[in-house]
């Protein structure tokens, strides 16, 4: 089974999907470091903020955004497989509809978050 | 050689074999049952049946109607005691399958739905979309797993029937994966090996439908009954022979010739409208529809395709939605093989060999004329189909007579003495010797496929929809010649493991025996009845005075079979005129 996932484009897409996980973890760790430094005091926190503002980290985060977006797409793409069939007026909902609804929900939630942060924050 | 001791051995894991196994196991949990099949049971050809299974269901229907449809459909060659038993028990068997989980199509109120079928006066065909046989087979197979007393021998090929002092006492099987032989000794043997359609060229049958069980019994002295009756199904794919179920017409599909004309009205099946209408036009019996095609072809009114002449099966009126819902498999076949969407365009079809009416003769208890031997399913001549089977009677038969076979064999096994191991061992060694002998021949000689194709072509020529004496004689000769050539055939494969070429050679031997019985039985029946239609001077009509009897072909070592005759059991329906369409309707009105 070595290298089985190179056998078919389908598997390569699957591996790409799974490969988003370390990046999700990486982001969680970045945040965690931020929280810990916040707990350690203002100096530690400022250091963390400064690091975030470096070009390297900004580029890295920009890449992370793309990876997270890919995760969003794949997550809702397998959604129809993972949930019980939804029957609306006697008809089973088509998979594309479920995927679309999921992505739409993600867009709405993200917009809401943006509005909250950009206009609601002090 | 390994020996396995059981009470009942069943050869065949199709609908009939599985139903028998369950019945035997349910009747007595102590019985040891062996179920032998050359393919995994769920691959058996029952899987391919599309249309449905008959059982009197609606309030306006009656056993009498089903009986009459069956007997007249069979051109009065049916054993009426068997038909009576059959129609009485269809419904409970269908309900039994329902209780076991078969996903029958339903009406809105949750009851099982029924559809119309050819030659049936009232809708009485239970169906599971167009996958009826598939669902029945898988339901039976999966249900059979409930019984630990059923020991399966999957992918084991039965190559001989063991007989000691006039009673069947076991079989010899080859484990296909290893090539090893075993002897299964039993107090009762059930043969449920299915039909023999592959003897012909264009047919609807799967590759495994090679008449093995019929030949096994035939070689052991059991005569084969009514072998001249082969059913041609009118709507098959030219070339491959793939079937477009009768349900296409049951749902309202029509047949038209090259001029777009519903030609069936010219052959005593009209008038065409109103449509659909039971027992008329496209819902006439299969033999009549196939014969009509033959005449159309003669008149040059068929359509030319790369695989020969065809007519059009037009399903466009049914509409996209109904087609997808009721006939999904048909849509798929048409699309993949022909590039046709039945909702948009008509499908070219022609008659192909479909069903073997004859077989191992059995009585109402499914007992063959060899003590300890039982037969059920297409390999049996249970007497219910006569000269022409009605669509959807066969699947019902698998259940009704499969159950009887299981129960009767179990009953017999409880009383029968233990098999005689010593004598049977010699026979089994012999069987192995001759099977292995095929492999031991030096290389060189003819290809197996050449012989097989010649046989199939000869059967088509001499055993077609219409038959002529000289052609039939030529076929008999050809089969004899092929039987002689068979031992010199070249087998390139010498392996013991999964040697399908070798098994195919054994199967071809079975097929040639069955073909021989068919050809000679046909020659002996000097009349026209049901699926056996002769064009010879003076033989084009049914002749009840001389031929209201079954043929019995008995195997003769090195020579043509001896043809004997047996009485047809008539209980309440004397031979009458088979009338369909307007003629049939007025006849029924007259009878009341």
């Amino acid at each position: 089974m070595d290298g089985w996932w190179r056998r078919d484009p389908f598997f390569i897409r699957y591996m790409a999907r799974e490969a988003t996980a370390p990046f999700v973890a990486a982001y969680a760790i970045v945040l965690l470091v931020g929280i810990v430094s916040l707990a350690r005091g203002a100096d530690a926190y400022e250091e963390w903020l400064e690091a975030l503002a470096s070009t390297g980290w900004i580029v890295a985060h920009a890449i992370l955004v793309a990876i997270f977006a890919y995760h969003t797409y794949t997550w809702f793409q397998i959604m129809p497989k993972t949930m019980p069939p939804v029957v609306v007026r006697g008809r089973r909902l088509a998979p594309e509809v479920i995927t679309f609804a999921g992505i739409a929900a993600a867009v709405l939630a993200s917009l809401a978050l943006w509005i909250l942060v950009a206009y609601g924050a002090p | 050689m390994d020996t396995v001791d059981v009470d009942v051995v069943i050869i065949g894991g199709g609908g009939a074999g599985l139903r028998a196994a369950i019945a035997a196991a349910a009747s007595d949990p102590q019985l040891k049952i062996a179920l032998v099949s050359k393919v995994y049971p769920m691959r058996s050809h029952t899987v391919a049946a599309e249309g449905g299974s008959a059982a009197v269901t609606l309030a306006e229907d009656s056993l009498e109607h089903h009986f009459n449809d069956t007997v007249s459909g069979g051109d009065w060659l049916c054993d009426q005691d068997a038909v009576e038993y059959f129609v009485e028990h269809c419904h409970e068997e269908m309900v039994q399958l329902e209780h076991w989980g078969c996903p029958w199509s339903r009406r809105e109120d949750g009851r099982v739905n029924v559809r119309a079928f050819g030659g049936m006066k009232i809708e009485r065909t239970w169906f599971a979309a167009d996958l009826t046989g598939f669902h029945m087979l898988h339901t039976l197979f999966q249900t059979s797993m409930k019984y630990p007393s059923i020991r399966r021998f999957d992918e084991h090929f039965c190559c001989d029937l063991l007989v000691h002092e006039g009673s069947a006492q076991g079989v010899v099987v080859i484990d296909i994966a290893t090539g090893e032989f075993s002897m299964i000794l039993a107090r009762a043997v059930i043969i449920a090996t299915g039909g023999a359609g592959r003897v012909f060229r264009q047919n609807t049958n799967g590759g495994i439908v090679t008449g093995d069980g019929m030949a096994l019994a035939y070689r052991r002295g059991v005569p084969l009954r009514d072998m001249e009756f082969m059913q041609y199904h009118p709507t098959c794919m030219p070339g491959t022979g793939l079937l477009f179920t009768e349900a296409c017409r049951g749902e309202g599909g029509i047949l038209v010739n090259r001029d777009g004309y519903r030609y069936l009205q010219d052959y005593g099946l009209g008038p065409p409208d109103p449509w659909p209408r039971k027992k008329a036009m496209e819902l006439g019996p299969r033999d009549r529809l196939s014969q009509a095609f033959w005449h159309e072809q003669r008149k040059g009114r068929t359509i030319d395709t790369p695989h020969g002449p065809a007519v059009h099966l037009d399903l466009r009126k049914l509409g996209e939605k109904l087609l997808r819902e009721r006939l999904p498999q048909i849509c798929e076949l048409a699309r993949d093989f022909l590039g046709i969407d039945p909702a948009q365009a008509p499908i070219p079809v022609r008659p192909c060999v479909h069903y073997t009416m004859g077989g191992i003769p059995t009585d109402v208890n499914t007992a063959a004329p060899l003590p300890g031997l039982y037969a059920a399913g297409e390999c049996a001549s249970s007497g219910i189909h006569g000269a022409n089977r009605l669509g959807s009677n066969s699947l019902a038969e698998l259940c009704v007579f499969g159950r009887v076979a299981g129960e009767q064999a179990a009953r017999f096994a409880r009383e029968a003495p233990a098999p005689n191991g010593v004598s049977l061992r010699w026979q089994a060694q012999d069987a192995r010797g001759s099977a292995v002998g095929l492999l031991a021949r030096p290389a060189g000689g003819e290809r197996l496929a050449t012989l097989r194709d010649e046989m199939a072509l000869a059967m088509e020529q001499g055993g077609g929809i219409y038959r002529l004496e000289p052609e039939m004689q030529a076929t008999c000769k050809k089969i004899a010649e092929l039987t002689e050539r068979l031992p010199t055939v070249n087998l390139g494969d010498r392996s013991q493991c999964w040697n399908t070429e070798w098994l195919a050679a054994i199967e071809l031997g079975f097929q040639l025996d069955v073909a021989q019985a068919m050809a000679h039985s046909a020659l002996a029946r000097r009349e026209s009845r049901g699926a056996h239609q002769r064009l010879d001077e003076g033989l084009t009509e049914r002749d009840d005075a001389n031929y209201l009897k079954h043929t019995l072909a008995s195997h003769v070592r090195a020579g043509p079979p001896a043809i004997g005759w047996s009485e047809v059991v008539i209980t309440r329906s004397p031979p009458g005129v088979r009338a369909y369409g307007a003629a049939g309707e007025s006849k029924e009105a007259a009878v009341g």
Binding site: M15, A28, L31, H61, V65, T72, A106, L113, V117, A118 | -
Partner: protein, 118 residues
């Protein structure tokens, strides 16, 4: 038959996957791109004062804990299975490494958030 302990992890995986699918990309954009560059948000969005204020409120605390923890559990579960996909046999060791990290992260985040005070 031994009951699998996977449902527990799978549920955390699912919750983290869903949360990150819904807002992950935007969150990364805000904290990693928009805030440092002052793109469309206040330049001091993540200033120490703002951060402390946010992390001292109960909703803020919970939000941070949930994001960090669930993202970690989501990743841990996927990585655990990916190790298997790549030929590293699943077992107590791999399980400890993956789920252990997520657990550790959760504990550290909890302690830190508590230390920040209310």
């Amino acid at each position: 038959m031994k009951r699998s302990n996977q449902p527990f992890f799978w549920l955390l995986f699912g919750a983290g996957g869903m949360l990150s699918a819904l807002i992950g990309a935007m969150l990364v954009f805000i904290t990693g791109v928009a805030a440092p560059l002052g793109l469309g948000v206040h330049a001091d969005l993540m200033s120490h004062a703002n951060a402390i204020a946010f992390a001292r409120g109960i909703p803020g605390k919970l939000f941070l804990l949930v994001v960090v923890s669930l993202f970690l559990w989501h990743a841990a579960h996927r990585i655990y299975h990916s190790l298997h996909d790549l030929g590293i046999p699943p077992g107590p060791l791999a399980q400890a490494a993956c789920y252990g990290t997520a657990l550790l992260g959760t504990v550290v985040a909890t302690v830190a958030l508590l230390a920040i005070g209310f």
